[in-house]
């Protein structure tokens, strides 16, 4: 055991040293990105290097992995920037003291307030809308209105959902709690559960199930549909923008923050500022069919066909604040 510990420490130490040496050079910025494992290398970093001469080094991993890694590395971390998906994750990172406050007028000007940490420790870069999806052959858009209305008994057995423990659903319920309070949210979730939703563990699979007729409506992120539609324009599923007459469609973000112990802090801020500019935003969001966080940037043509929609403008930090409450609420409501 002791030998293993020793060996692993040597390896870990070597890793830190190695990375440290690399990041010690002048014009660099080291990014821990939870996006890269899902979307591949980001072309936008090349554009940044071209423009500024600053090299971008990325290390991919999933969200919780990068979080744990940052935490374990403490002030030895080679990372300057953390890019993560889901606002709840960024909120957790900020609360754990892994991110530092950045006062940049440019970021504030580019990114709407509800997509930023109230204390400016992280900012949204792309917006992912989680809305109602329906089978265009079986459902008329007039039959749909709000998320709450999916609890209507007419959808019994016709609804496909992901489990409540899925992070985007946790954030969804969390922002709902912030909007409507626990009691109202729980009542809504109970009506969802009463409709005996078919639980499928993948947004893409839900869309396929809707298209195949297993269910008629569902709730997924729009970029999953965009990826399918880009290949198959005849796909019989379309998004319905939920809650347009009320609070707006639920959105989540992928976003970035400067780490608390960044060695290249100035470069890190420069990178995030660049990522919020319209030109970078377009590349960034286009690549994965997301919506840009900066309203000035143009959206992908596939998305443009679905029209503009009103976003829920409650501060997305609620996703983290109410995450634990959301999990428990879903348990109580019987939404698995």
């Amino acid at each position: 055991m002791r030998v293993i510990t020793l060996l692993s420490r040597m390896v870990a130490f070597g890793l830190v040293l190695g990375l440290g040496a690399v990041s010690g050079e002048a014009q660099e910025v080291v990014v821990y990105s939870a996006r890269s494992s899902q979307y591949g290398p980001e072309l936008v970093f090349d554009a940044f290097t071209k423009k500024t001469g600053i090299q971008v080094k990325t290390f991919g991993g999933n969200t919780s992995e990068l979080f744990e890694r940052l935490k374990a590395e403490g002030d030895k971390t080679p990372a300057d920037v953390l890019i993560s998906v889901d606002a709840g994750n960024l909120w957790n990172a900020a609360r754990a003291g892994l991110l530092s406050r950045v006062d940049s007028p440019e970021i504030v000007a580019n990114i709407p307030a509800h997509l930023r940490d109230p204390e400016n420790r992280w900012a949204g870069l792309t917006v992912r809308a989680r809305t109602i999806m329906y089978n265009t052959k079986k459902v008329k858009p007039e039959e749909l209105s709000t998320y709450d209305a999916l609890g209507d008994p007419k959808w019994k057995g016709r609804l496909c959902l992901r489990t409540s423990s899925y992070v985007y659903n946790q954030s969804f319920v969390a922002t709902m709690i912030k909007r409507q309070g626990e009691a109202k949210t729980e009542a809504v979730m109970k009506t969802w559960a009463a409709n005996e939703p078919i639980l499928i563990n993948g947004d893409t699979k839900i869309l396929e199930a809707i298209a195949a007729g297993q269910c008629d409506v569902g709730v997924t992120n729009t970029y999953y549909l965009a990826r399918i539609v880009a290949k198959d324009p005849a796909f019989v599923v379309a998004p319905f923008w939920a809650n347009q007459q009320t609070t707006g469609t639920h959105i989540n973000i992928s976003g970035a923050g400067v780490t608390a112990h960044a060695k290249n802090r100035a470069n890190a801020i420069k990178l995030i500022e660049f990522l919020t500019t319209p030109e970078a935003q377009q590349m960034f969001a286009d690549h994965a069919f997301e919506y840009p966080a900066n309203p000035q940037a143009a959206v992908n043509p596939v998305l443009a066909k679905w029209g503009k929609f009103k976003q829920d403008d409650i501060n997305i930090a609620a996703a983290g604040e109410f995450q634990a409450a959301a999990t428990r609420l879903a348990d109580r409501a019987g939404y698995k």
């Binding site: 293993i4 510990t5 946790q170 195949a212 007729g213 297993q214 428990r328 348990d331």
Partner: protein
């Protein structure tokens, strides 16, 4: 009994000091005891508020789901495994020889792999149901596969070989005599089987079913993919979703009670096993040649099981794998994943075998009560679900981390040096790995030929206890050791929940990759890592097949 064995062990009697072998044996047992004790100790200080939440929301469902899954897998494997063994041992039909060994192949397939492959094939939007709807109309509905029935079927299909292998061995050991005697007394073949063959083989059958149920209890990947809530899935969900370590531990303690029940079941059946094995072997079986449709029905039944449990899922994986390669969706990290998996499995296998040899040898040198208890206790590891061990290992290490951390921090403060975090991070992996595979290792590593004279001869020639072990026993049990190594190696490669919970940051293995991809329903991307795991799993299966064919030839 002590006198008798002590007489043959003059050189080992050293009453004055405690032998290092005993210390090591007790130490290994303690290592297994720590996670168990940690999990159990959480029962003494229940977090009432969390229990209330769990009770109100899911405890009943989790218990019911876990219990009926175990019952279904137990019954299903018992019926399927026994029926297939009965067919291949006591009958002749086309393809019997090939099917007899091919029916062991599903053992190479982790349940979570057949799970997602079958989900891809038989899901509503999958190719099978889509084709059926096209042929028979849009309103056609098959039973939902994401259900109790679906999960149970998946597990029965991959775990029935446990029963099959043991039943086949038992039927062969009985030979044809018992069956023929019963028949000569006027019983039909079926009645003779039910009233004579089966009761005699009962201990083996129960042991096989108990093993299958232990696997089902420990499974995490399948139930999570199918959205079927059990304790293993809940532990993971509570640990990561709510960051409620205490609640996760409390759930683990309940899961542990299930595991204890299965251990009792299996141990009691093992106790009775003498009953079969003690019997004198009768003449070889006289298989009944099946003719006409019966023969083909037998072939078809065996082939159908093999297809559903192995050929179809492997074919689906291969298809996805090819598509993934063609579309460039193969993870660039694959070589790293493979290297991580292999090194982890090798470390675990080596540790498990060393532990097992030490335990067995200590038991041979000092057959005292303490060592025996230590041996039995340590061999319990194989029945403990990975999630229980993970939670049980993390808790004490967290205490250590905090305790030692605080202490060191105080000492280090004057120099202003920061502390390396997570003192215990790496050893967790190695430790956990060493536990589950203990049982097969025990069987293989135990210095077997019970001839104390060997020890004495070697000792009289001047070898120490360690020398005897190294130069006499280890060479003699080399074959068994190799087998044990392979078994633990493969078990480690397959293991999922403990690897997920215990791995240090950034350390991914093939099974972790399969989990991450399948939890997002990215089945194409999961196919190649899954195939690699199945490929490795074939190793011990082929070994098992080789022994059993050797057995057959020998008879």
């Amino acid at each position: 009994m002590p006198q008798a064995s002590d007489a043959g062990r003059v050189f080992t009697a050293r009453p004055a000091s405690v032998s290092p072998w005993v210390v090591a044996a007790v130490g290994i047992a303690a290592l297994v005891a720590v996670p168990v004790a940690a999990v159990l100790s959480s029962l003494t200080s229940p977090a009432v508020e969390i229990w209330v939440h769990l009770w109100r929301t899911q405890l009943v469902e989790l218990t019911w789901n876990t219990a009926r899954l175990l019952a279904g897998v137990g019954a299903g494997t018992l019926v399927l495994g026994t029926a297939l063994a009965w067919l291949v041992v006591h009958h002749r039909f086309p393809g019997r020889a090939a099917l007899e060994w091919a029916l062991v192949l599903p053992l190479a397939m982790p349940a979570y792999v057949i799970g997602f492959a079958s989900l891809g094939l038989f899901d509503f939007a999958g190719p099978v149901q889509t084709a059926l709807r096209r042929a028979f109309g849009e309103s056609l509905r098959l039973p939902e596969i994401r259900s109790y029935g679906g999960v149970t079927l998946m597990m029965v299909l991959v775990y029935y070989p446990y029963v099959y292998l043991l039943a086949r061995a038992a039927f062969r050991a009985q030979g044809g005599a018992t069956l023929e005697t019963a028949r000569s007394l006027g019983r039909s073949r079926l009645v003779a089987f039910l009233r004579v063959t089966l009761p005699l083989a009962r201990p083996s059958l129960v042991a096989g079913a108990a093993l299958a149920m232990m696997e089902a209890l420990a499974d995490f990947g399948t139930v999570a993919t199918f959205g079927y809530r059990t304790y293993t899935e809940a532990i993971y969900r509570v640990w990561y979703g709510m960051f409620e370590r205490i609640a996760a531990t409390q759930l683990a303690s309940v899961l542990l009670l299930f595991a204890f029940a299965l251990i009792l079941l299996e141990r009691s059946s093992r106790g009775r096993q003498r009953f079969t094995q003690g019997m004198r072997r009768g003449p070889a079986t006289m298989p009944l040649p099946l003719t006409g449709w019966r023969a083909w029905a037998a072939t078809a039944a065996c082939a159908a099981v093999l297809t559903l449990a192995f050929l179809l899922p492997v074919g689906q994986l291969a298809w996805w794998g090819i598509e993934a390669v063609r579309e460039g969706r193969v993870s660039r990290d694959f070589p790293v994943l493979l290297a991580n998996t292999l090194s982890l499995a090798a470390l675990a296998a080596a540790a498990a075998c060393v532990f097992a040899v030490v335990l067995a040898y200590a038991g041979r040198l000092h057959p005292t009560r303490a060592v025996q208890v230590a041996g039995q206790f340590a061999s319990m590891g194989y029945a403990l679900p990975g999630s229980v061990i993970a939670v049980g290992v993390l808790l004490p290490l967290a205490w250590l981390d905090h305790g030692a951390g605080a202490l060191l921090e105080r000492a280090a403060r004057p120099t202003g040096r920061a502390l390396p975090h997570r003192v215990g991070d790496r050893p967790r992996r190695g430790l956990r790995r060493a536990l589950p595979g203990r049982e097969p290792a025990d069987g293989g590593c135990e210095p077997h030929p019970d001839l104390p004279i060997l020890d004495d001869a070697a000792r009289s020639l001047g070898a120490g206890a360690g020398g005897v072990l190294r130069r006499v026993h280890v060479p003699m049990i080399r074959g068994g050791l190799a087998t044990a190594l392979i078994l633990v190696f493969v078990e480690t490669m397959k293991e999922m929940p403990a690897t997920l919970l215990l791995r240090p940051f950034g350390f991914n293995t093939l099974s972790v990759e399969v989990w991450e991809r399948t939890s997002e329903a990215l089945w194409h991307e999961a196919a190649i890592p899954a195939l690699a795991i199945v490929g490795a799993g074939l190793l011990p299966v082929i070994l098992a097949i080789r022994w059993s064919t050797r057995d057959t030839r020998g008879r």
